[in-house]
């Protein structure tokens, strides 16, 4: 990724839109933050590096009525496609600046690698990350500190764009490998799985960052987790309530989740929420031969049906 080229492209687009959303340096060397540029000077702050972890497409539906340009990586572009499939944005209101991506960092993984020592600087060179703390300097291959989605990325190139900045890249690993972690988890017994989720989801503090960050969680303010009428869930700090909420979050994303990883990234309690959604998506592919966020002309599988389903069979009772 090249910041100069990106800024140039963004400046060219700027006069024809109300805002260009990109990313700029955040409060410390390890963080980038979303940047809403309305003036050419703002665009000068844009960066293009593996620090750009945010899925900026998430902001599009909330900017309804505005002309918006947005900088997207390959995975983020699937969010844009999914919005179009579901009619959540109007194509003519959105200018997509696509950036092919060779991977981003996971802030949590980087910190873990340096035992959470305060970071003094971080730099990137040919997919190697150099991290300096007050005690040491480490050179780490990017993919070792990247979120899971990057290690098996099938869509490094934006699937939809008006402007493309940078050279197209090859997918990493096989499409099959994307779900290896899910298959591995499924070798555990039912009891082990239940125990695992009770413990892991038990950490949830019900901050709803996972929900609010999710571009495709469309209910937001009417979420079952908070409505009092109907009163689906109590406000108790109770494992059952957390389990219900997360199962429903995943189910509502069935055949809609583009695996952008935001839910998992934003969780302060480091709960592997992406797993739930990946499991369901795996089924969507097997049952309905559907992958979310690929083709704007398609309809998500839960929006449609076939009178004779190809893969669903009657379940026998034993």
């Amino acid at each position: 990724m090249n910041a100069q080229e990106l800024r140039k492209a963004a400046k060219e687009v700027l006069p024809s839109v109300d805002v260009v959303i990109g990313q700029r340096a955040g409060f410390d060397p390890l963080h980038a933050e979303p940047c809403f540029a309305t003036k050419p000077e703002d665009v000068d702050d844009f960066i293009a590096s593996p620090l750009c972890v945010h899925n900026l497409a998430s902001y599009l539906p909330s900017l309804k009525g505005k002309k918006v340009a947005v900088v997207v990586k390959g995975c983020d572009s699937r969010t844009v496609v999914q919005f179009l499939e579901e009619g959540l944005i109007k194509r003519e209101n959105v200018t997509v600046i696509g950036v092919p991506c060779s991977g981003i960092i996971s802030v949590k993984k980087v910190l873990e690698r340096v035992s959470h020592e305060p970071i003094q600087s971080i730099s990137f060179d040919n997919e190697t990350v150099t991290v300096k703390t007050n005690k040491r300097e480490e050179k780490i291959p990017l993919l070792e500190v990247a979120p899971g989605k990057c290690t098996t990325c099938q869509y490094p190139n934006p699937l939809i764009f008006d402007v493309l900045v940078g050279q197209k890249l090859e997918p990493r690993g096989s499409a099959e490998a994307v779900y290896d972690d899910i298959r591995e988890f499924e070798t555990k017994s039912l009891e082990e799985r239940k125990e695992y989720w009770e413990k892991t989801l038990g950490r949830c503090i019900r901050c709803y960052a996972c929900r609010n960050a999710c571009p495709l969680c469309v209910c937001q303010e009417s979420c079952i987790a908070e409505t009092r009428d109907p009163h689906w869930m109590s406000q108790k700090d109770d494992p059952k309530e957390k389990m219900t909420f997360h199962m429903i979050h995943a189910i509502h994303l069935a055949g809609r989740c583009t695996e952008c990883g935001e839910c998992e990234r934003v969780c302060p309690m480091d709960i592997p929420l992406g797993q739930l959604k990946k499991k369901i998506n795996m089924g969507m592919k097997e049952l309905y031969d559907y992958v979310p966020g690929i083709n704007p002309e398609e309809k998500p599988p839960m929006y449609v049906f076939k009178v004779e389903e190809d893969k669903i069979e009657e379940h026998e009772l034993s």
């Binding site: 955040g26 409060f27 410390d28 390890l30 963080h31 980038a32 933050e33 979303p34 940047c35 809403f36 945010h54 902001y59 949590k108 873990e112 035992s115 959470h116 305060p118 970071i119 007050n134 892991t200 950490r203 503090i205 019900r206 901050c207 709803y208 960052a209 929900r211 609010n212 960050a213 937001q220 303010e221 908070e226 009092r228 109590s234 406000q235 108790k236 700090d237 109770d238 935001e262 990234r265 934003v266 302060p268 309690m269 480091d270």
Partner: protein, 354 residues
């Protein structure tokens, strides 16, 4: 009784273990890479190497607590009558919090001013809890305690204050409660380590420069605070989630709900957050803080203006959690720095010059 104690390295763990016999002990424990305050039990890994993800506030102000339970009872002889039984009994054990950072400990003082007099649930917990604070060795990303009237060696809020020195731990009683812990087995006399400890504390206090002007605390300019454009700008990226408020050691808003079943239920108090849309949603459907800009303004305003009006000090201990863990890096210290009176004058001067 002395007010200075010392524990050699090898007595530290046995000491905490022995506390567990008489108290419910909360300590920062690591699980799957996340540190939270948990009740100390066998198999838990205490981790004091960095600030916990969530503040220990849940010990004093739980995420959800039963205020009372109610049961509807029908009398068999007159089924048209319904009796309600209430149970508001509480049972809070004597508690010790180990490993609170200075900013965590100071956070409790923010709650005290609001709840101690008027809230029996809070008061009971507070009175039964001893806070053991730890001197910080150095700041972490986002920390700005020194700009919030505190510091890495700030003792206010702790009952007992611990400084790592001379291959062990120097213990300083700040209150009577803290003194009591010094009387426990294994604690040695600490007088000979006092100098080393105060040197260490002095060093620590200098390890973090102020990032917001104002001594000891920042003062926000009201005029700047009222600018809508400012809040629109700084809140554009905000997700209206509960990360900042729920991890914060000084945020104390709550909701009260009746979680009822057919035959009874509980009145529950649970954390709530001014950053949520629902927080101010009225029954009519109107929401006086319907936009996220208004909500972020409220969060900052509450901490740096309204609370100051009422209690004379800010409601933020500069722990940096809301910065570190915010999904989109909203930086409260940066926001406040831009709103301080000094910053405003500087800006005006700059504008006048140009």
């Amino acid at each position: 009784m002395t007010d200075k104690g010392y524990l050699p390295q090898d007595k530290w763990e046995p000491f905490i273990e022995s506390l567990s016999n008489d108290f419910r002990v909360y300590a920062p424990c690591e699980e799957d890479g996340v540190i939270t305050f948990q009740v100390l039990e066998k198999g838990k890994k205490v981790d004091l190497s960095r600030p916990s993800t969530s503040a220990p506030k849940g010990v004093m102000f739980p995420q959800s607590e039963r205020l009372f339970s109610f049961d509807f009872k029908k009398a068999p002889e007159s089924p048209d009558k319904m009796a309600v039984e209430l149970d508001a009994s509480t049972n809070m054990p004597e508690t010790v919090i180990i490993g609170a950072r200075p900013c965590d400990a100071k956070g409790f003082l923010t709650y005290d001013r609001v709840y101690l007099e008027v809230d029996p649930y809070y008061r009971e917990r507070r009175e039964k809890t001893t806070v053991v604070g730890f001197c910080c060795n150095g700041p972490f990303a986002g920390c700005f305690c020194t700009s919030a009237g505190g510091g890495l060696a700030e003792k206010e809020g702790s009952d007992l204050f611990v400084t790592e020195v001379d291959n062990g731990y120097f213990l300083e009683a700040i209150t009577e409660k803290g003194k009591k812990l010094l009387g426990r087995p294994m604690v040695e006399d600490g007088a000979s380590h006092a100098d080393a400890a105060s040197k260490k504390q002095e060093q620590a206090s200098k390890a973090l420069q102020k990032v917001i002007p104002g001594d000891p605390e920042p003062r926000i300019s009201r005029e700047a605070f009222e600018s809508d454009a400012f809040w629109d700008e700084v809140s554009a990226k905000c997700l209206s989630c509960g990360v900042c408020t729920y991890l914060c050691p000084t945020c104390y808003c709550f909701n009260i709900t009746d979680e009822a079943r057919l035959e009874g239920g509980e009145r529950v108090r649970s954390w709530d957050a001014c950053m949520f849309h629902h927080f101010t949603l009225e029954a009519s459907g109107h929401n006086p803080r319907g936009r996220k800009a208004m909500r972020l303004k409220q969060r900052v305003g509450h901490k740096f203006l309204y609370y100051v009006d009422k209690y004379g000090t800010i409601a933020c201990s500069g722990c940096g959690r809301c910065i570190r863990h915010c999904p989109v890096s909203v930086e409260i210290s940066g926001i406040v720095a831009r709103l301080t009176e000094g910053a405003q004058e500087d800006q005006k001067a700059a504008e006048a010059r140009s």
